[in-house]
Amino acid sequence: MQFSPEVLIVVGPLIAAAFAGLLQRYIGDRVAMIVTTASIGLSLVLSWPIFIDFVWGEGHEKLIEIAPFIHVGDFQSTWSVRIDTMSAIMLVVVNTVSFLVHLYSWGYMSEDPHKARFFSYLSFFTFAMLALVTANDFIQLFFGWEGVGVASYLLIGFWYQKRSANDAAIKAFVTNRVGDFGFALGIMAVFFLLGTIQFFPSSADHAALFSGVVNGVEVPGLLHHLEGLNLTIGSLSVPAAELCAVLLFIGAMGKSAQFFLHVWLPDAMEGPTPVSALIHAATMVTAGVFMVCRLGELYHMAPIASGIVTIVGAATALFAATVGLAQNDIKRVVAYSTCSQLGYMFFAAGVGAYNAAMFHLFTHAFFKALLFLGAGSVIHGLHHEQDMRYMGGVRKPMMITWAMMTIGTFALIGFGIPGLGGFAGFYSKDAIIEAAYGSSGIGAQFAFWCGVTAALLTSFYSWRLAFMTFEGKYRGNPDAHHHDDHAHGDAHAHDDHGHGHDAHAKPADGTAPAHESPWVMLIPLFVLAAGAVAAGAIFAPYFLGEHAAEFWNHVVPLAHAEGGHHDFPAWVIWAPLTVTVTGFIFAVIFYLWKPGAAKAMAGGPVWAFLYNKWYFDELYDFIFVKGARAFGDLFWKVGDKRLIDGLGPDGVAATSNFFSRNLRRLQTGFVYHYSFIMLIAAVAFGAYAILAGIGGGR
């Protein structure tokens, strides 16, 4: 057993979560909040120096093995903390966003009666996520993977009185399990083929870490040994690397809400908004991207699997953006936007630009958390109104939130001038689009066009959100409390909003009767906004540019390490900016200049198709939910009852009736006599049979 600060980063939040969760009755809300927030703060303070060391310092890779987890033969999983470029990036992303979300929740959840439980869950989530990103083998990764899943389940269903929240929580967990089905099989396949489930050798010897070369790229891990192997199942023989990569990607599709398995993410917005920011935007949903990049050496030698990653990612980027156009719930718009941005990350990884994928993950964490927390601030300010149709005119009463949301919007649409610079999203998103253009991989050109189109739509729906929320006249909600998100189940939560009673009377000047959020909620917005503005410009040279080779240190295969824009035609470089501005102009026309035009469009068949999310929920409900019920009933009522029991025990029902009459005598008492008589009879019978048998045998 070793102990070091790195271990504390991971385990600290677990201890805090257990403390706050188990002792909540005795320590009270305040102590629980202080302990959990402080422990994440400590993890934050400890993780930034590690990241800085990788960016500007030497970059010390480490593997700390704490204790054995599951050791059976060659199947060896060890509780470990692996520190390298990948985990260093994730440590700062997770701890920064988590700390800010903890802080923000002091304000956002101030009226909730279950604060200690909430903070305990948040910290537990952080622990599981940290265990995931610092894993050195598949099983610890899977532990974190399912751990964040259960934290997500608990937090989506945090307001447990609400049926819709509980259903959304189950949907999230079960859909993720569908992904985990593939993930688990992927792990089994890797173990079957390689006889190990470790990513990297345990050896502390640094030189030994660079153990192989795949397609001309040095890689540090063990998975490259899959190269050239085939897996034969029955009469089928498939390239091992391709199979493992596809199976594992199914897991990533579930966790990162990719096309086909995306249905849970929008519903997950039933959870409190800080949860959406932390789990369903910045961290957990990026775990799939993290995994694909972590296993870069595997995907690097699996062109077909990478093609699938590219196509699924690109399709998701476009699909989610189209659905985002037609949603009215402010959180759902941001959720579909998250889904779409995750698609970008995946197709970046699919075309081999793992560094660009990770960079977009990094910048996206800042601006998407900013947008979610900003949306939460609006929801809080408008007394838990989430429907944008009933917003408008919020800018004046919530100037700070408006300013921060605007920064987030600029970052999300990736605004920037090629050659000069821009917001954080500009660096990462443009790098992805260019990488797709420059790649000859399967589906790369499809991904390029999806990426450009999705960028247009992203700009449109982002400005639509901004305009519908902040500009124009306050529209108000005719039947206020019906659209209420905050189902505390008890009315006092709303009464605490003393100043909110006249909220729904429309003021004459068209401004919303909103109030700016408290400082504890605004300060996290400032920090994230700073990241959304500057994180791209500061870190692009390391993730993508001239320092990339030292920064990544072979942890992901760097096919596109050269950086710079000079390789691409001018139209490719300028395409993202062009579509972004176009989207902005359309949003101005539809939502500021001629608001009637948007309303006229709403109600058409295309709009209904988008509004209903391409009818995925209805389709899945019909096939899977009803299908499972039908099969369950069939197996139970026909299989078990009619066939098995009907032909078996119930066929001799007359016998049991006969016995039952006799059994009633047992109940009159003296049961123990009977039991002993039967015991003795059984022994005698057994002995007699055996002796007779032996006698006969000889």
């Binding site: 987890f69 599951i70 050791h71 059976v72 199947f75 099983i139 899977f142 532990f143 399912e146 447990y160 009185q161 509980n166 259903d167 189950i170 079960v174 399990r177 985990d180 089905f181 688990a184 099989l185 792990i187 089994m188 396949a189 173990f191 079957f192 897996l231 029955g234 189940g489 499972a628 099969f631 369950g632 197996f635 139970w636 299989g639 078990d640 098995i644 078996g648 025990p649 016998t655 049991s656 016995f659 039952s660 059994l663 047992l666 109940q667 049961v671 123990y672 009977y674 039991s675 039967m678 059984a682 022994v683 057994g686 002995a687 049979a689 055996i690 002796l691 048998g693 032996i694 045998g697």
Partner: protein
């Protein structure tokens, strides 16, 4: 401590301590002249003390036991008549199941505190049952094994038939007929084996079989006869339908014992007899067992999804989980067998705990109907948290003891047949669906049923009941390696016996 028990027949002490306690209660009843509440409480307390003493005794046995030694240990042997002997001894597999039994029985007794009808008879039966269960795992003579194995039916039959629910008679007979029918075939096979091998000693029989004593053709018949008994006990599809009925009607503690320990005798039997003694037949039947295992997993999971009775749902989920065990055992490799043993131990704790969770609300409301409940978390937050943990254990969440067994058995099966592992992995999806739906319906939401308005959270007795199970679930989930290291030796031996004869 090992010096302390040296020379003592420690296994016999562990095995018969409960039976001695039962005798003590019988004697006390003879002198008590009529039963009353005070007497009943005294009996409950005495029974609890006896089972705790048994657990302590098993700890001594555990301390005297060397898990690095692959042989049978703590052996005792007294010659009986006609070559048979009273032989006891345990390897790491048996030892771990003995510990599971002695650990769970005091918890069952606590859960039986609510019994008011014929208390002393109930406790006597329970103690006899414990003796017989421990005996099954300790017996080193196949006749002795068979006697313990069969006799265990009787107290369980009576516990269900007398203290059970409305359809207890039907359930008790279904249970009895199914299990008895299977074991009669096994008895015939045992008689044949003794006649051929000339010994009833299990290690000797194993050696005889390993030496090629049973030809592959004979093995097929013997294997089938044993399979008839163990498959019913497990229970495997399609002989599983007795289990949901038995569980539904059984009193809480009997359900716990049934799920946690009696079902394990099937798995134990496969590992102790089928694989080592009939290795060729086991190889031959592996695809058959695999098929039945995955049918059980998928079938039972889907049926569980549709249940309206809490106990029936958990019973069907037990059938699915036992499917992982049989799949792991017959994969015949280290991950599969280790996973199967782990899954048996873990299922003992988790399913036992889940039945206790049902018992808690059943004791208060006297119904197990899922639709009756809802919103319990509002009145019973501690209960809801405990129930959540075990629900997650049932789902196989990493970090609980439910995970290592599931993943290891699947890893083991994948090495033999990837399709089987893939089909079993479907169960991972289904288990999440039915377990979380159950939890939502029972614990979450608002309290809609006015009868639940005053329902009380866990009392002190129930706390004591759950705390050891919670700790065991988490320790086995976070540091399963200690259990796995313990059972490694037995698993290795069985693997070599299974693999050796195949060549």
């Amino acid at each position: 401590m090992s010096e302390f028990v040296a020379g003592w027949p420690i296994l016999s002490i562990v095995t018969f301590l409960p039976a001695a306690g039962a005798l003590l209660i019988l004697l006390s009843r003879a002198s008590a002249r009529g039963e009353n509440v005070g007497y009943d409480n005294g009996v409950k307390l005495l029974t609890l003390l006896i089972t705790i003493a048994t657990f302590v005794a098993s700890l001594f046995a555990f301390a005297a036991f060397d898990f690095r030694n692959p042989d049978y240990q703590l052996q005792e042997s007294i010659p009986w008549a006609f070559g048979a002997s009273y032989a006891m001894g345990v390897d790491t597999l048996a030892m771990s199941l003995v510990m599971l039994t002695t650990f769970l029985t005091p918890i069952c007794i606590l859960a039986s505190w609510v019994i008011e009808k014929q208390v002393s008879s109930y406790m006597v039966l329970f103690l006899i049952l414990e003796s017989l269960m421990i005996g099954v795992f300790c017996a080193q003579d196949i006749i002795l094994f068979y006697i313990f194995f069969e006799a265990g039916l009787i107290p369980m039959f009576i516990l269900i038939g007398v203290w059970g629910g409305e359809r207890r008679v039907y359930a008790a007979f279904k249970f009895f007929l199914y299990t008895l029918l299977g074991s009669l075939l096994m008895l015939v096979a045992i008689i044949y084996m003794i006649a051929v091998a000339g010994t009833s000693n299990i290690p000797a029989l194993t050696a005889f079989a390993q030496g090629g004593g049973f030809s592959p053709d004979v093995q097929i018949w013997l294997w089938l006869a044993f399979f008839a008994s163990f498959a019913v006990k497990m229970p495997m599809w399609p002989v599983h339908t007795w289990l949901p009925d038995a569980h539904v009607e059984a009193p809480t503690a009997a359900s716990v014992v049934l799920a946690a320990i009696l079902l394990k005798m099937g798995g134990y039997g496969f590992l102790r007899f089928s694989l080592p003694m009939f290795p060729d037949a086991s190889h031959y039947f592996t695809p058959f067992v695999f098929l039945l295992s995955v049918i059980a997993i998928v079938w039972a999971s889907l049926v569980a999804f549709r249940q309206v009775d809490m106990k029936k749902l958990i019973a069907y989920s037990s059938v699915a989980h036992m499917g992982f065990v049989t799949m792991g055992i017959f994969s015949g490799n280290e991950q599969g067998i280790q996973g199967a043993i782990f899954q048996m131990l873990s299922h003992g704790i988790i399913s036992g705990a889940l039945f206790l969770c049902v018992g808690v609300v059943y004791d208060r409301m006297h119904t197990r109907e899922i639709a009756f409940y809802g919103g319990l978390v509002n009145r019973m937050p501690v209960y809801a948290a405990v129930f959540m943990l075990f629900t997650m254990g049932n789902v196989g969440l990493p970090g609980t003891s439910g995970f290592p067994g599931e993943i290891l058995t699947m890893v083991g099966a994948f090495q033999v047949n990837a399709w089987i592992a893939a089909a079993a992995a479907l169960g991972v999806i289904f288990s999440a669906a039915y377990a979380l739906t159950l939890y939502r319906k029972v614990a979450l939401g608002n309290i809609e049923n006015p009868k639940l308005d005053k329902i009380a959270d866990l009392d002190a007795r129930e706390w004591v009941q759950f705390v050891p199970l919670v700790i065991a679930t988490l320790i086995m989930g976070l540091a399963p390696t200690y259990v796995l290291d313990f059972t490694a030796n037995s698993a290795q031996t069985i693997i070599s016996q299974f693999a050796g004869a195949a060549q």
